[in-house]
């Protein structure tokens, strides 16, 4: 029916993959999108440069939650380098629906949060918190 709300998107939203917490994440970050009230915490378990475990918690719109669910599936088992190379376009291709400009922030929150988690880990911190800039609220 609606292009945006295909069955698989809603399926991911209702039963998100990898939803939950890791006991000992090696990288973790809470990203948010204050305009929408979307909020996601990404937790990664990395060893030997490979993302072995991944989990997320949070609340938000179907787009942001489905995006997080699909992204976690995608990056599990990838090398950190591969994950760092992922572009917004890659994620949008993965999601497979056309996202309007107003919803881009929702769709990309998960990738943005993963990127922050990896950057923090690289610079030795963990679990910093930062909100995502808004193009006007």
């Amino acid at each position: 029916m609606d292009d945006l709300y295909r069955d698989y998107i809603l399926e991911h939203y209702r039963r998100p993959h990898n939803f939950g917490v890791l006991d000992q994440p090696t990288a973790s970050y809470e990203g948010s999108n204050p305009l929408c009230g979307d909020r996601i915490t990404m937790m990664l378990g990395i060893s030997d440069g490979v993302v072995r475990e991944v989990a997320f918690t949070g609340r938000g719109c179907a787009i942001s939650q489905a995006s997080a669910s699909m992204l976690t599936d995608e990056i599990k088992g990838k090398t950190v380098e591969e994950v760092e190379k992922m572009t917004p376009e890659d994620l949008l291709d993965l999601i497979g629906i056309e996202i309007s400009p107003a919803r881009l922030k929702c769709a990309l929150l998960s990738l943005d949060t993963v990127a922050h988690a990896l950057a923090d880990q690289a610079s030795g911190q963990a679990s910093a918190e930062e909100t995502q800039p808004q193009p006007g609220q």
Partner: protein, 425 residues
């Protein structure tokens, strides 16, 4: 829509009424359709209103027939522009029953008006330990400028809390007034809850405690009769773009003595009397506060909007929108099981209905409605603290105006059922 159309007919006609169906012909945008060919169902008037032909043509007329600068030109089109600009000030003053047009300062929007007061009046009158009382339901425009001010001047903010129904708790207000605030600032009508605050009573209480009063009329002037003299306010602000006028137009009204005592805010041309290299004298009010070339086209459009509203009659507009609010609350409650709505129970409330569907994010609601041409707002509506108060990440909001018809509320109900169906499938 057929199954929900019946209740429409039940709304009784009364003497002072507007005919929204006829009014709709005045709004060219209502003849447009979205990318799927669906007609526009615009339920986001609290964000900005649509513009009637009278306003569009006022702007157009200036731009294509007499575009020139004002107050300075000795030629025909400049005199025409000056006259039109000053006539807009008179119309704007009449709309809120200001004692004199010179007390109307044209600004870009309500936000600028509040900042003007915070900078000009506030920097001079708020010092260490001085208190400003606000409410928990303020729009960011009537909150953040005061945060910045008290932080800079080492003053304090206090907040009138609200009940779960979205009403100000007057007994707490009473107690806060014992702090002898310098200023009490509150919204006339809440843009999220629809609450219409008892502005006259709030003002009298503030004055009795020795405070000045600033009222944010952004959601009031477009929708209900406003009489700044009857209210007894000191400062009253509003935006043109929410009251059928152009973006870029708006007004600060304040009592003459206040404006005369305040230092200028923006400095430059037009607000001066004499300029020397190292000192200048200020012009009289309101020009002292209108530095540089104003938004002549927009303010002329604001005048046209004020005349249009007065032509319809603010009392009649009020009746229309109150009925729409009641109808919306009834209809959505009946047609959309599980819907949660916020704000006071019908009765005395503005044409704004904020709601949530259980388990569905408002952004998803708005996005799906968009396909059907239905425009609602989703988010925090620039009232994050109010959303925090209700522990809400976001809400969806439908808001009305003179051109809104019950059929659009029916369409919203149908759309929301569809949203639920999609998410439940």
């Amino acid at each position: 829509m057929a199954d929900t159309a019946t209740p429409t007919a039940r709304i009784r006609t009364q003497p002072a009424r507007i005919d929204p169906h006829r009014i709709r012909a005045d709004f060219p945008i209502l003849a447009t359709a979205n990318r799927f060919g669906k007609p526009l169902v615009y339920l986001d008037s609290a964000a900005t209103s649509l513009k009637p032909k009278a306003v569009i043509e006022a702007v157009d007329g200036y731009n294509s027939e007499y575009s020139s600068n004002i107050h300075r030109g000795i030629y025909e089109i400049a005199e025409r522009a000056t006259a039109a600009y000053e006539a807009a000030r008179v119309s704007t003053a009449r709309l809120i029953n200001a004692p004199e047009a010179a007390e109307i300062v044209f600004v870009r929007n309500a936000t600028e008006a509040i900042n003007l007061v915070a900078y000009s009046w506030g920097r001079r009158n708020i010092g260490r330990g001085d208190t400003i009382v606000l409410t928990e339901m303020e729009h960011h425009a009537n909150l953040v400028p005061w945060q910045v001010l008290v932080q800079e001047r080492d003053g304090d903010l206090e907040f009138i809390p609200i009940t779960d129904d979205g009403l100000l708790r007057l007994e707490v207000y009473e107690a806060l007034l014992h702090l002898h605030p310098k200023l009490v600032a509150f919204t006339h009508v809440s843009n999220m809850l629809g609450t219409i605050n008892p502005v006259r009573e709030l003002t009298e209480m503030a004055h009795a405690a020795g405070a000045l009063v600033l009222i944010d009329g952004a959601q009031a002037v477009p929708h209900i009769p406003v009489d700044v003299q009857a209210i007894g306010a000191d400062f009253y602000v509003f935006s043109g773009h929410k009251m059928l006028g152009p973006t870029g137009s708006g007004a600060l009204w304040a009592r003459r003595e206040l404006l005369e005592a305040m230092p200028p805010f923006l400095a430059g041309g037009d607000m001066i009397r004499e300029v020397h290299l190292r000192r200048s004298d200020w012009n009289e009010i309101p020009y002292k506060f209108e530095a540089g070339t104003p938004d002549i086209a927009a303010e002329i459009g604001l005048g046209a909007a004020a005349e249009y509203l007065m032509g319809l009659g603010m009392d009649a507009i009020r009746v229309h929108e109150q009925e729409l609010a009641r109808y919306a609350i009834e209809t959505l409650r009946r047609e959309v099981p599980g819907i949660e709505m916020y704000g006071p129970e019908a009765g005395d409330r503005g044409g704004v209905v904020s709601f949530n569907l259980p388990g569905i994010h408002p952004h998803d609601v708005a996005q799906i409605l968009d396909r059907s041409g239905i425009c609602i707002r989703a988010g925090h509506h620039c009232t994050m603290p109010l959303h925090e108060r209700f522990d809400l990440a976001a809400t969806a909001r439908a808001s009305f105006n003179v051109y809104t018809i019950p059929e659009e509320i029916d369409a919203l109900a149908v759309g929301l059922r569809e949203v639920v169906r999609i998410f439940e499938r």
